[in-house]
Symmetry: D2
Subunit: 296 residues, 4 copies
């Protein structure tokens, strides 16, 4: 069950000295905003990724340094995609992430520009709460060997190319056979990911405080194969049981990996969580109402 305590790295008593900054690539407003933040909080040390260091006028990280080791807070200026990228860059370090959306409200980037300084002032003085979000760990097993291992905040997607034939996806849970999905693909999501690709594929909305694993087929041939919400301590395995070509594994929409017939994708709850700094002015259901136009 998701604990709601602050993350170990930034307790209410702690003083933030080093802040990581991650900006959306190719977005000048994000760079401007980063400079505004540096101007306002001159007593703090700022760090960023190697790729954006020059643009932000910051010293680059060392080759073997991880942002997650060095900073006590990570500020992300961009959209949900940028935040997912940022969360990956922490490599499991429990650093709170403050997501600032530059345009439309995101599911993960809760803080609009207008609230940025108010929220950041509070955060730097320890007045904030974090929402821990469950992650999944994924392994690709090929002929008995692990050829890939990673973690995701949103989803693990097995998906075919536009011209490929549909594949047979054999789903097992803790070794017990569930079903074979003849489908364009299968999405395995965290609760956070339930409002991402899985929603477009017909899945339910899973509250982020309910640790669970959501399995949704994409355009299944069998119309009765609905989304499946599973307990978090189960291991979900999907084996490509038919001849396949042009089928890929996608990790949080960011990393793609070609799959072969017989490949097994194993998914479990990760020991790590992502710690989102909450915007006190907006709650989870408020974001749903806004993003899904429930008020209209």
């Amino acid at each position: 069950m998701a604990s709601r305590s602050p993350s170990p790295k930034l307790s209410r008593e702690a003083t933030v000295k080093t802040v990581g900054l991650i900006v959306k690539r190719g977005k000048p407003e994000a760079v401007t905003l980063a400079h505004r933040i540096r101007d306002r909080y001159r007593h703090l040390t700022f760090l960023t990724e190697q790729a954006t260091a020059a643009e932000l006028g910051l010293p680059p990280l060392g080759a073997n340094e991880a942002l997650g080791e060095r900073c006590e807070l990570l500020v992300v200026l961009g959209g949900d995609g940028t935040l997912i990228h940022a969360a990956r860059s922490l490599r499991g370090h429990p650093v709170p992430i403050l997501g600032v959306n530059l345009g439309r409200l995101g599911f993960l980037t809760e803080v609009p520009i207008i609230d940025l300084f108010t929220v950041l002032d509070d955060v730097l003085q320890g007045r904030f709460s974090v929402e821990p979000r469950m992650k999944l760990s994924v392994r690709l097993v090929r002929e008995g060997a692990r050829v890939l291992e990673d973690e995701v905040l949103n989803d693990v997607v097995i998906n075919k190319g536009a011209l490929a034939r549909i594949a047979d996806h054999e789903l097992t849970v803790d070794g017990e056979r569930v079903a074979t999905y003849k489908a364009d693909g299968v999405i395995v999501s965290t609760p956070t990911g339930s409002t991402a690709y899985a929603l477009s594929a017909g899945g339910p909305i899973v509250h982020p405080a309910l640790d669970s694993i959501l399995v949704s087929p994409i355009c299944s041939h069998a119309l009765t194969q609905r989304s499946l919400v599973l307990p978090p301590h189960r291991t979900v395995s999907i084996r490509l049981a038919s001849e396949v070509a042009d089928v890929y594994l996608t990790i949080d929409g960011q990393v793609g990996y070609p799959l072969q017939s017989g490949d097994v994708v194993e998914v479990q709850r990760s020991h790590n969580r992502v710690h989102l700094v909450r915007n006190p002015h907006v709650g989870y259901f408020g974001i749903l109402r806004e993003k899904l136009h429930w008020g209209l």
Copy 2:
């Protein structure tokens, strides 16, 4: 989280002496089967409900006696509807229920007639496992007063009559506003109930070992109002916010209650569980495959 230990009433060491029998009304095969069971296990005491005592040739329960107090095992001969009725008659007593389906496999009545004696032999010798199933407790609050309180294994349904106007269902979770569903109704389900009415209304399949509360609108006007899977420790409230007539609260499809404008239906996880005796020859996913034709 659902524990998988045997229920307190029937441990592996315990000896069953008294067995409750509940048969589907108006089903002669069920009565015949009940007699076959009594003939085979003559050393046991059998009990049944008042309504069927004469038909089964059993002494009726006393007026204030509950089946759940008197027996260590409850055998249900019928379909899922009969089992739900039987579970209600236990009034929270943690007596294991063995569900026998007389025709087609049920989601809850896992044991077909052909396996009945084999499974029952094993159960009576303590060789079995039970699957605890989460229940919901529901309260109807009218003008500040609780006018109804009950427990469900499947679902709490707010639904309008055929000729009634659609109502505004204001959903809050732990007091936080979620959305107003303009819809024919709303279903609040346990994981067990996710394969009942909620599935027909477009909901996902929630594994019974994942304690959670599923909220699904029925024919919502807003096409973006998907099913919502919530943590089990939250309180779900639905307030009828518009003028309503001919709107009802239905408890496990068995008890109906007319609702008024302003009524609030509150739903929480119950402290009680239903303990289903598992058929070792068939698992949860096997039942899904069979019932939803996934193999075809």
Copy 3:
């Protein structure tokens, strides 16, 4: 196929002399608006229904008179529900209907208050086009006899009460068996009705210029029973094949009729159409975008 020619009653050359006015009951703005219209077009004769004659200061229709016989144009001030009611009051007379929405844009009431006089000026001078909308005729056959016959612009709904058991709806098309829907109900819609109840039940959007009959089950037990779009010249029959109680036939959401086991509901394309005056400033797809928030 729907012809797009003006209706016979109001050609571009014709002069409108008599205008029917139908206002939404209990809506003072509608009455005010009706007076504004009368003030502006003093050379015209206005008529209304008996029920609203006093409120509008108009002489009541005679007991046997139909609005459709007397007027060359019908102006409806209200929402889609009022327009459907108004279309019924025409009893098949091909009088063009100008639907004015008082609040939010309707699927049928295309003209907002701001455009009312501009559009009406044009209409009265013959500068307008009408969109003929297909209607369905419905018959209820009980023990071989027709006990009800009516026409609908939106839909014919067979639906159970909140506490009733689901019924078996045996669907045949031109006498050929299609399927038995075990469901809360079945909706038979015109293309116009595809954006009404059928959309909430999961149906597609059928363009109003495609004459066709849409059959959509409501909360079907069989998850594979999708909506069915049928040719317009077919006869759709639904027979209640199980014991039923508390099941109703609803005609355009306005008239309810209790059904019995064995009842047959027969639906065909009507010879009559409803002729909607089009708002030149908004098209069918524009209404879809607005009503379904496609632009957001």
Copy 4:
């Protein structure tokens, strides 16, 4: 509207002299069956495609000859995919096609092996009816020029690769803007194709006698973008309005073509139809019941 008259090439009076045979590749039963047919009907001339001529012991077609020009009946031994391939090979010639399924019933291959000779005897004596199926013609327009033109029996699919970003698909009908689908892709189907990919993507079932064009988004971001059923005489255009990479046009699941940003895919009803020989022992609704398990 689909006419139900026999095709011009094979009237009830005509005598079949030349039969085309198309067999599923890599399926020995299909070859065996082809030989059985040749043995039984020795008075007929048989033809096949170049690729299978040697295997069937038939003289190959000339390089410029089309099967459709030479034969009066086409017998297809395989599944729906083989029949679609066969229909393409006719290049618009109105030759009746008899589809024989080797295994499970197909939507298009209605005749099982057990009925093959009975049905074929009847067909060769002119005792049969054909069902004309609407086709779509598709054009790919790039920078004002037609770079591809083809016909389909099932569907035209615009779809992204597994790793590609979702594209903006701007839909217009007869030049009028409908909506922009942010989606994995868009399917434009015939009624025949409504039970193919479009069904997996959430679409309705459109009866093959209802000429119409079905547009279904694939995994749309906007949850309100349902399938759209359009009149047959409209022109559907989809323009790729965003930067795209790895997006393809697929024609009846058989031909793929890479798309670029700005490409326009135009779809209209074709003048040609596919003429399926009907199996008198099974109707359209019978096939639906069987394929979609409606009887269970």
